[in-house]
Amino acid sequence: MIEITTQPLDTDRILQSVQSDRAGASVMFLGTTRQFTDGRETVELDYECYHEMAIKKMSQLRYISFEKWPIEHCTIVHRIGPVPVGESSVAIAVSTPHRASSFEAAEWLINTLKTEVPIWKRESFADGSQEWVHPDPKQVVKKNPKTDSEPIDLSEAPTIGP
């Protein structure tokens, strides 16, 4: 399942979407708006997306994860619009026969979503200032060397519908 929503994430529904009798493990990652970063206080993140391309990229990511791990089900839901502190902007849920794959796949999916999917956040701070978050691509990107040693090219990946 791939979704972009303006609503608060229904985590019960997301976890339910990956349940399978063939899976001994399921992992759900939630990305939530954090209050403090480098001494600055955030009050809200506001997300914007290039909708059709974001859906396409999330679908491609999901497809590739099925090739890399023995995944039973995989769901990615991203919220757009305002996401206050403590609320979640993204949920990634996977289920696999054994737990190691679920942990690895979920980690790879969020790491890759954060570099590949055309979604942007604008941060609103307690002091009233606002700024778009545009990370420097030349900075070292978080990767798990066990699962992420090859460069990623999603463009050849098919998309599977929800």
């Binding site: 997300y47 993204v90 604008r122």
Partner: protein, 81 residues
């Protein structure tokens, strides 16, 4: 040919519009479009060095040739999740 470029995030804010239209040659590449965009909208210059273009919902290299009717977007560094 006329190419419409969708703008997002700070690019949208800097230009004050959700898209801009540029006139380029029939043989124009993505690189040519980049140059034309910064010429027409110099306020985008600092953002361009870290941004990429998408063509028909796929990331595009500088040497990709454009065609009439393609859907182009300027993709500043993404920050989903």
């Amino acid at each position: 040919m006329n190419i419409s470029i969708a703008l997002f995030a700070s690019a949208r804010e800097l230009v004050g519009s959700i898209s801009v239209d540029l006139e380029v040659s029939e043989q124009a590449t993505v690189c040519d479009l980049k140059i034309a965009l910064v010429e027409a909208y110099p306020e985008l210059a600092s953002l361009m060095s870290n941004s990429v273009f998408s063509v028909d919902h796929e990331y595009a290299n500088d040497d990709m040739m454009l065609r009439d009717g393609v859907e182009v977007a300027l993709i500043p560094p993404v920050s989903g999740g």
